[in-house]
Symmetry: none
Subunit: 146 residues, 4 copies
């Protein structure tokens, strides 16, 4: 193959890695007493693993997935780029969009060796809780986030 | 509350139970060497937990969920009610429906004390493989299936 | 990072490679006199590049994409696994499914070093024409297909 | 045919013209160092050609197409008719709508002899970058835009 036709060196997240992220996120959610829906996606936004903790609302299954997909495919934490007042208005309308993009906080990319290899999306708590649980999940894989 | 207005005694599947099902299914899939997408839903068909094993195709994420939803909401294993020749023709076309019903084998209800408390859906192998892995998952919870 | 948490060595298809595939497919379509819609997707099924040749029907834009997505995410040429009589019945109903899976011929995975790095989907001709054009496209990248 | 029953003189954009637009847009995107998703649609909003440059996020595939469709079918550049403060709030929420209309900048109609013959949609950079790349693409066809 002509070398300019392909790019080698991509890193994939495994199921074992995904479960390490989920387990750490569940522990963090237990610690604050808020049951969560937690999704882990690959770099392309396809689901790798998912947990709905006992007591988490079924309405948040899709939101957790949307946050993970958004963080994976946009390579950027959800809510990072919006000013608070904007986010208030548009986050809900966006969350259900067909392309699964959202400005609701709680979706964070998983970065290894400079590559976005996937993302975690957390939903069922307040925004800061969702973010804290997402960060705790990622820390199990890559150490504490910036 | 008027006792006739409610029905007590519903049994819910927990995340811990869902993970026991997933772990047993993963072990069975490893044993036959076929990586699977595996979904566990509650009695209402809402996702509880999901694993995509390394090497399973992304096309089967939705199929595993569809099988679990179908088995949960119809309270019947997928493919059980169709004659083989019919099933051949319609199974795939049905799997794509918006209501997530399918005749493709690999979705089995989880029954405890006579109640359907959820279902497992398995996809990425041949039909018999998907069924075997689904049964192995359920056996971790309820013992060997009939 | 724990080595079991990630898998290194994935290969990505570039835009330059995608264009080489499209150009070769267009040349093959011109040679048989059938204008085509031609889509190239990455391994996850996300669009990389697309051409609609002059005279190709707009109804086939989505079909070309569906074929490429199906071949990418199922890692298998569309129509390969179906018997002709089955395919006749289900191919059209499947082609429009929300998960973009199809049994219509003309979607073929692009394989480099044993990895599915993407796929081509071709639509607007008869099945054999679509397949021939798809193969000609891939041959520009990897040499003649098996 | 009764001459009043039809309207002659429609101009259609060809694949060759679409590729000239894409190539010029890619060159402009390379010059500013921002990889882009670039879509070219016909006057009806149907996709003619598409490139995703290496490094552009998959989340922007749909946005590029939405911008091109919006500019084609509304015959007006995206973001042109909104005051900046409004645009900030609604641009993203609109982009996800099922009818593919958006106020996000980067969609521009292609006008030849007074007819809108199609549009270009560009996404993955800041608004001004998307617009600059879109204009550079169109200039290859029609000369510098007003």
């Amino acid at each position: 193959v002509n070398p300019s036709f392909v790019q080698a060196g991509r890193i994939d997240l495994t199921l074992e890695g995904s479960r390490a992220v989920l387990d750490a996120a569940v522990a963090a959610a237990d610690a604050i007493g808020t049951p969560m829906c937690i999704a882990v996606t690959d770099a392309a936004g396809h689901l790798l693993a998912f947990y709905r903790m006992d007591g988490a609302r079924t309405s948040n299954i899709g939101l957790a997935l949307t946050k993970a997909v958004s963080a994976s495919t946009r390579r950027r934490a959800t809510a990072d780029e919006f000013r608070p007042d904007e986010a208030q208005v548009i986050r809900k309308s966006l969350a259900m969009g067909t392309d699964r993009m959202t400005a609701m906080p709680g979706g964070i990319p998983i970065v290894v060796e400079g590559q976005v290899i996937g993302a975690i999306g957390v939903s069922n708590g307040h925004g800061e809780e969702d973010i804290a649980v997402a960060r705790a999940g990622i820390a199990a894989l890559t150490g504490p986030e910036r």
